[in-house]
Amino acid sequence: VCTSRFWFNYRHVANTLSVYRSVKRLGIPDSHIVLMLADDMACNPRNPKPATVFSHKNMELNVYGDDVEVDYRSYEVTVENFLRVLTGRIPPSTPRSKRLLSDDRSNILIYMTGHGGNGFLKFQDSEEITNVELADAFEQMWQKRRYNELLFIIDTCQGASMYERFYSPNIMALASSQVGEDSLSHQPDLGIGVHLMDRYTFYVLEFLEEIHPASQTNMNDLFQVCPKSLCVSTPGHRTDLFQRDPQNVLITDFFGSVRKVEITTETISLDRDLAVFESKLPKDELATEPLKYAEQLPVAQIIHQKPKQKDWHPPGGFILGLWALIIMVFFKTYGIKHMKHIF
């Protein structure tokens, strides 16, 4: 998830796209990736090299490429959509690629980048998500067993505050900086004119370049990435909610996709010459009339709507008390006898 927009936040988009590339290289297909980007970099009028997003100042790798599949772009990247994707409370019309169809055997990797503060992450300059909301969303996911294990990586200023409030089991979190510290960007590119990448993600990607789908590197190595000398900020991590020892957790458990496989040893025997017989169950006759528009409306939801109140009711409760107080003070201050001058 990249939570920033506008040209000067180029590095956040480059961060996200680079992590996306690595994850695809290690085997996770697009159908298993939900990518949320503002996506206003590649075709931005200020981009001197249109249709590209680079992550390194030597312009070696165009991380935008040909087959980026952005699921939520531009104004769809909102806190509400993000939480809806996580908890699964999505309107029924949402296509499959925009949903998180995970079950209790799925390992989920969540990578977020943008501008953040102590306890919140800014979404597109207009709203924020707090660490409490994020922790509640993860708890909702756990209750419905939407994940087996979850790895949360965040690259923002004061990123460690975002994982302080997690309380659901099987979550491991990594952040690029502690509370009170800022995450810094790596290098500017003079040709493009903005900073291309953030330091933490840059070193994480260098680390991931050496991972291939069969590698046995474990999480402890990922924790060592980007020490203070290189990163200027102090990366942090949290593993107390995780049940397995990080030493035993492979990087490819989250970044790649290695499946359990069993050899098929049984077969059944089919009778080759059995004639095709008509199915025993009667096939339902298809309705001959085309469906009317009214039949496709969600009738249950419409029926249960309460009718809107048309008549005016005098204000009650808090507002009434407030007005009564104001009027009483007004009369007391100016005196009742003056009222006849007004009316």
Partner: protein, 497 residues
């Protein structure tokens, strides 16, 4: 969290000459056995075997008077009432020739079994217990169904590999042809699906809705390069490289955009001419007879080798007609394994009848239904509990009426499912549990229940206080002044006399 009670109606029918001498009461009589399935959870699960012991009727005797067990099974089938979830055990005399030598129990395609008599009532009861373990459910199958609620360490490593209970499944058959220049592969998938797959899916239609589609992919390669083995002059894929085969292919499979049901992919791979023949090795290095492997909750892959042409000067591309029967035998076996129906772990003197083209026996369907019903009910209770916790946490969440009606329906259906389970009506219990799951999922995942939309009280204070506090300061001060003046006026008359 109530108690689960799984009731299985069992009938033990004695053929003439097989009644053991030590029966407690004269035939016919009823008996109920209750056993606790120790799964170490709060809702405890007990199984009740309501057994009826009786003699055979004349028709059943005539049916048993045939040459082989298979014919007896076929003849007995129309005589039973065939209730889902029930079992009938026919006890034949020890000297009967129906059962082959060395076999003491024969399990038929439907819901009955033939058992050789001998050893008195206690031995019979042990046989009955073994039989119910095979034909209905075991402690491990029930605990696997409830795996969500059992803490991680207690289950074995492969307890969660079976497909979760869902309202529907999508099955996709794909033919992968990486070398179309050499092989022009033809598969008559539609006919194969109608002949071989559809009967199995029809039998499973009680469990879920199935939809089938197929596709052909060209230039789709496996992600792994096979090794050439000089001794057998063939290419080998070792067992530890198999997990990496699936991912490069999956990106091109195009899991369907239309439905939200879990997808089962069955891939048929025809190796390139330069890599033919290709065999899969198991862990010991021996080639696998089926040349196929499967991944739990995903699907299966089979490698189909094309025989090298007799003469080297044949024109390319070779036309290949895929032998669909061989392929479907493997794919359907993989489908059974994905659902969790395997035929291992039997006592040595059991003989299982093969279900033929139907794919699975009636009692295997029962096993699936038991597990899915229990899983559905457990899912409903976790969902509703979690929904209640959400409501406790956010006091001012608004529950729309249709969400409320879904919750009531889910609770009612779950209760009726548990009642039917305790009464032994598996079919009704399963239907009720499916309705309960549908309603509870609809209620839980309703888009209006996003906690973000409902402000907690502290946020409301945080917004209104900066607005009202400055306004309230002069009001409060004036109030204080009023009170002081009123007190002063009360004191003054006493002074001023």
């Amino acid at each position: 969290s109530a108690q689960f009670q799984l009731a299985v109606p069992v009938a033990v029918v004695f053929a003439p000459g097989s009644v053991p001498g030590d029966l407690p009461r004269p035939l016919p009589f009823r008996d109920v056995q209750e056993m606790e399935i120790s799964v170490n959870l709060r809702p405890s699960i007990t199984s009740r075997y309501e057994t009826v012991y009786r003699r055979t009727t004349a028709q059943e005797e005539a049916a048993l008077d045939v040459a082989t067990a298979r014919e007896a099974d076929a003849a007995l089938h129309p005589l039973q009432d065939a209730l889902l979830g029930s079992l009938t055990m026919y006890v034949v005399p020890e000297t009967s020739s129906l059962l082959p030598q060395g076999i003491n129990v024969y399990v038929g395609k439907h819901r009955s079994a033939l058992v050789r008599a001998g050893g008195g009532l206690a031995a019979l009861r042990t046989r009955l217990q073994q039989l119910t373990q095979v034909m209905s459910f075991t402690a491990s199958s029930i605990s696997a169904a409830l795996s969500d609620r059992v803490p991680n360490g207690q289950l074995g490593p492969d307890a969660r590999r079976h497909l979760k209970s869902s309202l529907g499944y999508e099955i996709t058959f794909s033919l992968l042809n990486p070398d179309p220049k050499s092989h022009a592969v033809d598969w008559d998938i539609e006919d194969a699906v109608n002949r071989y797959v559809q009967p199995v899916l029809d039998k499973l239609s009680l469990v879920a809705n199935f939809s089938v589609d197929s596709q052909i992919l060209y230039y789709a390669v496996l992600g792994v390069t096979p090794r050439f083995d000089k001794e057998s002059s063939s290419f080998l894929l070792s067992a530890h490289s198999l997990p990496h085969v699936i991912n490069p292919v999956e990106a091109r499979l195009g899991s369907s955009a239309a439905s939200l049901y879990p997808v089962l992919n069955f891939l048929l791979y025809v190796p390139e001419r330069s890599h033919s023949p290709l065999y899969i090795q198991d862990k010991d290095g021996a080639p696998v007879s089926t040349n196929a492997f499967h991944s739990p909750r995903w699907g299966g892959i089979m490698v189909y080798n094309v025989e090298a042409p007799a003469s080297p000067q044949v024109s390319l591309p070779l036309h290949v007609d895929v032998d669909m029967v061989r392929v479907m035998e493997v794919f359907l076996a993989q489908l059974r394994l994905l659902f969790g129906l395997s035929r291992e772990e039997l006592p040595p003197d059991f003989l299982l009848e093969s279900p033929g083209n139907e794919g699975l026996a009636d009692w295997e369907l029962d096993r699936l239904l038991w597990a899915h019903t229990v899983e559905n009910i457990a899912t409903v209770s976790t969902t509703l509990t979690s929904l209640a916790q959400l409501l406790d946490k956010i006091g001012n969440i608004v529950i729309k009426d249709d969400v409320a009606s879904e919750v009531y329906q889910a609770v009612a259906s779950a209760q009726s499912a548990m009642a039917e389970l305790a009464a032994g009506h598996l079919h009704l219990a399963f239907q009720a549990s499916k309705e309960a799951v549908t309603s509870s999922e609809r209620a839980f995942f309703d888009p209006s229940l996003l906690h973000l939309l409902y402000f907690p009280d502290d946020q409301k204070f945080a917004i209104y206080i900066p607005l009202f506090l400055p306004m309230a300061v002069p009001i409060l001060l004036s109030l204080a002044k009023i009170v002081r003046e009123a007190r002063q006026r009360k004191k003054e008359p006493t002074k001023m006399d």
